[in-house]
Every structure is written in C-alpha cells, then in structure tokens.
Amino acid sequence: MDIERDLNDALRRREAPAGFASRVMARIESGEADAPAAHPERKPWRAIAAAILLTAVLGGWAAHQESERRAGERARDEVLLALRITSEKLHEAREQVNEIGTNH
C-alpha cells in the first residue's frame, strides 16, 4: 500500500456545497462584511449572471464529454465497487460472529 498516494486520493479537493459562492455574496450584500477600502460599487446581478453562465457552460461541456467508452469503464468500476462493498460487509458480519463465538 502506498499511503502517500492514498492520502492524495482521499484528501483531494472537494467541491464546495452547491450555492456556496451565492451564500457568501449574500452575506456581503447584507452588509455583514465591511466594504473594502475603495469604491464599494455593488453590482450583484453581474455575480449572479456569471454564476449562471459558468454553470451552463460547465454543464454543457460535461454532458458533451460523455462517451460510450467512459460509460463502460464507469460501469466496470461500479461493479468492482459494489462487489467490494458487499464483500466487506459480509466480511465484517463474519468477524463479529466470530468475536461473539469467541466470547461465549
């Protein structure tokens, strides 16, 4: 086992919850944060428009990338994941049964 590689996988960056940036901007718009030093000109509609555009572009791009090969490989990975989860749960159940047997 290469623990450093596994840590890289386990601790890779994760997406912030959906709408995170909007919630930050809403708190700023509500005046919760002090305005920055220079020209506090507020254009919230531009942030909202940018977020919508970004979502649309990324969504369209992601959908376009879907291919039969990737679907097949994903299905294969999911089969392995499912078998691994199943086997692990059965294994854990057996371990507990053994423990109970040993204690009595």
Binding site: E78, V79, L81, A82, A93, I100
Partner: protein, 172 residues
Amino acid sequence: MRKYAFFLLTIFLALPASAQRINIDIPGLAERAAEVIDVTLDAQMLRVASKFFSSRDSDRAVREMVNGLEGIYVRSYEFDKVGEYDRAIVDRLRSQLGAEWKKIVNVRSRDRENVEVFLHMRGDAVRGLFVISAEPRELTIVNIVGPIDIDKLGSLEGQFGIPKMSMEKGKQ
C-alpha cells in the same frame, strides 16, 4: 376470462425477477447525508460493464459472476452526526422481503454496526442477496439480483481490494 388468465400469467412470469429486486431508494436521505455512494446497474449496464473486464484470470472471474446477474444496487450513506437517519428505515426495508428471503446472518452490536444478510432461495439455488449494514453514522444497503455464487464471491477475495472472507452457506 382468458384476458384475466393472461394477465395473471404475465404477473407470474414477471414475479421471479421483481421478487429479488428490493426498493432501496429512501426519499430525502441522500440530501441529509454528507457522502453518498450510489451504484445502480441493471442487466443492460452489467452486460456493458462485462465487456470492459480483461481476459486476465482475475477479471474473468468477475465477468463470469456478473454475466448471470440481473442487477446490482448499492446505496451507502455517510452522515456528519449520529442519529441523522431514522432507524425505522431498516424495518421498512426488511418488510419488503417475502418468504423466499432467508436471513443467514443477523449481527447486532450496541457500539458497532448491525448487519443483516438475506439470501433469496429457490430450492438450493441462491437467486438474490440483500445486505443491510446500519452504523451510527453510516447506512449501507446492497441488493444483488440474480444467481449469485457465494463461493465465487469468496474466490474474488484479495483481488480489487476485496477483503478475504469465507461465508458458510446456510449458517444462521
């Protein structure tokens, strides 16, 4: 009357597959979970997946097992806090199981997980597997539909990260 008989026959023919398929989708649970593993593979997707296993022995073993199956469904939810899912969910899942389902393992632990393993039996043949694993912060449900060979599942041990195990069939 003939129409009625045909209707009954259709239901009867459809029954074997649907009796092993359990509804494991729990509305609203995924939204409350911090992390969700959702595997939904029907027969068609399993056929697609089987083409992506190589001819190596280890891959072949999985392909042979998968080829006979009609579906693999897994839901695993991890929660931030203890008590974020209703334990009655487990009772509702269990209540879907008909008389053909035999419970082969039932482990209850106050501190660790509760695990229940059911096999759908037709004669001596295993036609389905259902596992519920309930931990304070994690709920995992597995439903495999179709002929599953527990020995074959055991033969995959040590491969693809599948832990070593050996289930004794029929043991309570």
